[in-house]
């Protein structure tokens, strides 16, 4: 008896997005659900980006900071260390210092920092604003300009605030992150709004919102599966690679941060929690994972090697 397994073939593939200039990498491009290599290909393996802040993060847990060392005091050193010691495929620079609540640094100041980081690294750079819409609209145009020619990925564009960033990215040749609040319709809507402005759909990366393991991760997991199935079935407005800000979410939950009797060593539990969240996101279709802890980072990279083995 020859057993014939059901092999699905899809009509569409996920867009392939090229990032960076000196050592560019491609993300996305898959035409199958994650790791089903008998049905299609994932021409670009999922990548892990290390999250670097432009200021020392005030409230990260001690065991996370200890693992990063003194580098957290300087974005340039931090980024360099992420590449040379931890093997980062990309760097994420979060312009936290511009946030009115954490320094309110000026557009010129953060653009300066951005330039110095760009000068120090050759891997692609992802740039994230400070999280305050108004301030981001003030700093991002300058930052996009400062990074002109470097083919960066800028975020975050949302349904309520996408125009300024879209215009700047278009003018200076960057890709853009479109964010939506765990809602497949809004995810599609943001992509449509951005492309309606003349932006190339093939330069959009989607952030479906991230949630930590144990705190709603399953909602993200299912939104990703739904979006991916729709995309592979032909919906071009959902055919963008996924980015997930795993570190940002994991390092605010109790399981990663706090001692608790019977829960084991918190220092290990933290990075294992971050890695486990990343693994689940990979199984749901993640293309770019943004992470914080060097150990979680290395372990996830190793897991990707294994997952990609055909």
């Amino acid at each position: 008896m020859a057993l014939e397994l059901i092999k699905d073939k899809w009509t569409n593939n996920i867009n392939e997005v090229m990032l960076g200039a000196d050592k560019p990498i491609k993300v996305g491009g898959e035409n199958t659900l994650p790791f089903l290599f008998q049905e299609g290909d994932m021409p670009n393996r999922p990548v892990v980006a290390m999250e670097v802040w432009d200021m020392e993060p005030p409230d990260w847990p001690a065991h996370l900071k200890a693992a990063l060392g003194d580098a957290v005091k300087s974005p340039v050193e931090w980024a360099k260390k992420a590449i040379s010691e931890f093997g980062a495929d990309l760097i994420v620079l979060r312009l936290q210092s511009a946030n009115p609540e954490t320094g309110n640094a000026s557009a010129d100041k953060v653009a300066e920092t951005l330039k110095s980081v760009l000068a120090a690294i050759d891997v692609p750079l992802i740039v994230i604003g400070c999280g305050d819409d108004q301030k981001d609209n003030d700093i991002m145009p300058k930052c996009c300009q400062a990074a002109k020619g470097k083919n960066c990925l800028f975020g975050l564009a949302t349904e309520d605030n996408y125009k300024t960033l879209t215009v700047s990215c278009m003018a200076d040749g960057h890709s853009i992150i479109a964010e939506s609040p765990i809602d497949i319709n809004i995810a599609k809507q943001v992509n449509i709004l951005i492309t309606d402005m003349g932006f190339d759909a093939k330069r959009i990366v989607m952030h479906p919102t991230t949630a930590s393991l144990g705190y709603g991760m399953e909602y993200v997991y299912s939104i990703m599966e739904r979006a991916r199935l729709a995309a592979l079935n032909g919906d071009k407005m959902l055919a963008m690679p996924f980015i997930l800000f795993v570190g940002q979410e994991v390092w605010r939950v109790k399981e990663a941060k706090e001692e608790e009797p019977g829960w084991g060593d918190v220092a290990k539990r933290g990075h294992l929690w971050e890695m486990t969240t990343a693994i689940n996101m990979l199984q749901a279709g993640a293309d770019i994972l943004v992470m914080r802890h060097p150990q979680a980072f290395k372990d996830t990279k190793k897991a990707i090697e294994r997952l990609m083995k055909k």
């Binding site: 739904r226 109790k254 084991g264």
Partner: protein
Amino acid sequence: MALSGLEIYKLLPKTNCKDCGFPTCLAFAMQLAAKKASLDKCPHVSAEAKQALEGASQPPIKLVTVGTGDGKLQIGNETVMFRHEETFHHPAGVGFLIEDSLDDAALKKKLDKINKLQFERVGQRIGANVVAIKSASGDAAKFSQVVKSVCGSTKLNIVLVAEDPKVLAAGVEASKDRRPLLHGANKANVDEMVKVAKGAGLPLVAVASGLEEIAELTQKIKAAGVEEIVIDTGPKDLTAKVNDLTYARRMALRKTFRPLGYPAIAFTTSSEPADEIAEAASFISKYAGIVIMKNCEPEEVLPILATRQDLYNDPQKPVQVEPKVYDIGNVTKESPLIVTTNFSITYYTVAGEVEASKVPTRIMACDAEGMSVLTAWAAEKFTPETITRMLGTVNADSLVSHHTIVIPGYVAVMSGKLEEGSGWKIQVGPREASGLPNYLKNFKV
């Protein structure tokens, strides 16, 4: 897969005798297909037709029970490939491998650790629920002794792992009343293994490296009279293993291919904690019914149990906490009173940050049908009216003297109306829970 009305009709006598209470065989068939009538209403149906119809009404993935009593493990009977299509029904068993080569002291130490792997997080109890005992020695007496000792010191469900049917039978003898899962039957030992399983009425694992061989084995096992079967394609590279699990599930669900319509057990192959977690988490998300790990340190097991907890949540039923006021720390009448919704994740995210702040605080979780703050606000479940009502229900006046509540920054727009409607002073807190520690430390009425 269920049969259509027409398919059922073909199997009926087609005499339209009306004895079933329906005017025609076809009408009866339609009711059967809609599950609104049962087959025993027709006294004339042939034995073959009966068998075919009953077979078709079986779930595409067999439900298998391991263990007994409250803590028993039930796996299988899954209906979808993707949890958004319905839900994943029977949470995978998570357990640990113990080899019979361990000496008494090491065995005791390991079991102590395993027995402690019960946790309470976000208001739910989660825990490990399986121990797999493997015969490394190949010695029946030794195996029997270790199985007995394990059974005596844990309530968790048992999987017995041995290739030699005689050794396995000795293990069964030592754990009969526990309804262990037997691992397992392969091409070489299947006949004898089936005898052991059938004799004791126990579920049996079919072990082979390819799905085709698995399908042949399960048919043999079933024909010999063992109904409850679990499948195992053995140790493989991570993605190859996940592919096996995926294709078995797909064949069962989409083709009603019975020989693969059984839950699967998967053993991790790595001993390095992070590598093992990568495997175990992937097995949970991609369809394993039981995952057996080697390491049992709590910080390594907790993320796996949380993965199971998350992915087996019913997407249609958000997990809720009881709507009421929760005291965090040693609260007084001067402590802040903050307001949020009763969506479990929202509440526990807020509670976590409040705990971290070390500022004694009351949290009023309003009944918002388990929606998050923004969703509930948009759906008008978290409004000035509902909050005002809740303040009355919990008699908030008797709890705090400052007559002030803190609302989430995301719903700042409702402050005016809420202040007017409730008569309470309103303070707008941070948008994200992560801003709470800072906010609470500087809280002033």
